[in-house]
Symmetry: C2
Subunit: 345 residues, 2 copies
DNA sequence: TAATTTTGTTTAATCGATTAAACAAATCAG
DNA sequence: CTGATTTGTTTAATCGATTAAACAAAATTA
């Protein structure tokens, strides 16, 4: 890689000091600099194809215009969708995004955050994994600006932008109840993650409010490490009883995707034999033969707000903002029976 | 944000020079430094929770351990899948990834590359968009290490890792011909992008080799800017003739996703009335009622090899490596008729 | 014991940009 | 015509780390 052009190269060629070049290129001291000199400097800068060394500038200004983004897995549509919004939003304010996937793994998450701090990011947007509360607390102690997205810790006072997961589950289950389903199951994760806990709580609460009793056999919490097998076994067991479920809520898009593949294999009739609702919107849900009723997370708002909160915090706003955005239930074929199907029940 | 701990803070506390601290923490001059002093320095470093200021180090060493990744759109599963592999591969070598989406837009792409250079990335992995050849040439002139993925310019001698798109199309069409389909259409992009051109060329070539004449009405090149409407119109027009198509190849996963939604709406029977093949593997293709036959791009290899080539180049390897990886056709329900369907044709 | 080598550490320059402060020259006010 | 301002530019310190070179003290060799 050939030597890059520095301020000094321009200064030498024009015959001025680097200070002057810096002032001109940054439009500082406007009016104080002779027009002819300023023009010449700009001209030479273009001619030599100069570009600022952002590293040097950052060292001096103590500002990198970089945001670190920690998601669970960038290849998950939820994460990548969010990443895209954040990218666009950050770009508007001249920030660049560094990203990393934690894989819901504490050690990875710690390493990522560490790397980002080492790189002097101005702030972080984090979808925190399980057991990472101490990492978040540590950020707080170091006064590093950050915003949590999707997940958060109710006991820690931090900026966050998340879904109102409790309400979201609640509305999904109420909808199923309204449609006449009586044995409603849920496949979720075995985790302490607050957003998932809230989804589970919403499910339980909705059943009780509806006068259907909550049967813990119908809420299966699978292991986050092996979704495919977990989902398949869960579905099998939910169906292999004398009173199989007639409706099912998937707690995440990953659970839904594997679940749908399995249900397709089992040749179950949706919604006749089994109604389905999922969290998140993905193309996969659209293409199932009975397009799924789903809980739509307002991804664009989440991304936008998270980025905005972060940049505000970076710029010195000390206020803490906690947002639980409302989800919207989008009703489609997977939960709505034809009239004749309905009569036959 | 409170003042961070620097080498100087450690040096002051221990009562030595910053140089010595640097040597110790970087394990330089091993054996030359008194064990007791070294231990004390390490101890204080931990105690103060010191972490290297990577910005300062980068300025001095002229190395950022950062890779810039330019994809078309990080929210596309192809891009995010690739990003994930690259992330993992880069991490193994202690590199961090900055990313950006070009949206197939020359100006955006230029801005991204510029930003990344300004930030002194050690190298770039780029899925170049249309008309960005000049940007690539410029990188070459500046001797900035880079590797192209997915797309490349046949006239420019650069490192790249791509699919053998011609062969991929060829095998897909041959498969359709073998299955007895005779009027095979393709929906592709109206673009000069080489990978797409190759896919189109493979389609045409396969038809001719098979003795089916190529009818340019059956290869519809839609505008990359408005995929949804383009695909819907294309499908409508391919079907609205006296001799409608009996099979269809989608040139990308985005085309396929929109195509499948439309075909579902039209209530077409796949593969009975229309057989389908798509490029790329996505969950959406799995969940269509007739899971799609698809051309599987070896994403992990692409990502791994691209990262490896880039890091080799960063480390000084001047050799140019150009890889066209073979695709694998995965045959599923969307192109294979039941016996009775076959007889009825 | 003097010269040499080894050990252990510091000094100081450097990376490239920013910016307060200093300075010289030109212009102005009285 | 002189002192004060304004204009235009330079000097030099700084950000935090790295590292060649210098240096002092201790150990070894002759």
């Amino acid at each position: 890689m050939q030597k890059r052009i520095s301020l000094k190269d321009i200064a030498d060629k024009v015959g001025v000091s680097t200070a002057l070049v810096s002032y001109v290129l940054n439009n500082k001291k406007e009016g104080r600099i002779k027009k002819s000199v300023a023009d010449r400097i700009k001209e030479v800068a273009v001619e030599l194809n100069y570009r600022t060394n952002q590293i040097a500038r950052s060292l001096k200004t103590n500002k990198t215009f970089t945001i670190g983004l920690v998601v669970a897995d960038i290849s998950n549509p939820f994460s990548s969708g969010l990443a895209r919004i954040i990218e666009d939003e950050a770009e508007k304010k001249n920030y660049t995004v560094i990203f990393g996937s934690s894989d819901e793994n504490v050690a990875r998450s710690e390493k990522l955050i560490d790397t980002f701090i080492t790189r002097q990011v101005d702030g972080l947007i984090i979808a925190p994994g399980e057991n990472s509360a101490s990492q978040i607390l540590s950020l707080q102690q170091q006064h590093i600006p950050f915003v949590l997205v999707d997940r958060y810790f109710p006991d820690i006072k931090t900026n966050y932008v998340a879904l109102d997961n409790y309400e979201a589950s609640l509305s999904a289950i109420h909808h199923l109840v309204d449609q006449g389903y009586k044995r409603i199951g849920m496949i979720s994760f075995n985790t302490s993650l607050f957003n998932i806990q809230e989804r589970n709580r919403g499910y339980i609460s909705a059943l009780e409010k509806s006068g259907l009793h909550f049967n813990s056999d119908l809420l299966i919490e699978i292991n986050i490490g092996d979704i495919k097998a977990g989902v398949e076994n869960a579905i099998d067991s939910l169906l292999a009883t004398s009173q199989p479920i007639d409706a099912l809520l998937f707690a995440t898009n990953a659970i839904a995707t594997h679940g749908l593949k399995h249900i397709y294999k089992l040749n179950l009739k949706v919604p006749g034999e089994l109604a389905l609702v999922s969290f998140d919107k993905t193309d996969a849900l659209d293409l199932f033969y009975a397009p799924l009723t789903y809980i739509n997370q307002p991804l664009p708002e989440m991304g936008r707000l998270a980025t905005k909160l972060l940049i505000d915090a970076i710029e010195g706003n000390e206020e803490i903002t906690q947002l639980n955005l409302p989800a919207k239930l989008v009703v489609r074929a997977s939960t709505v029976m034809d009239k004749d199907e309905r009569f036959s029940r």
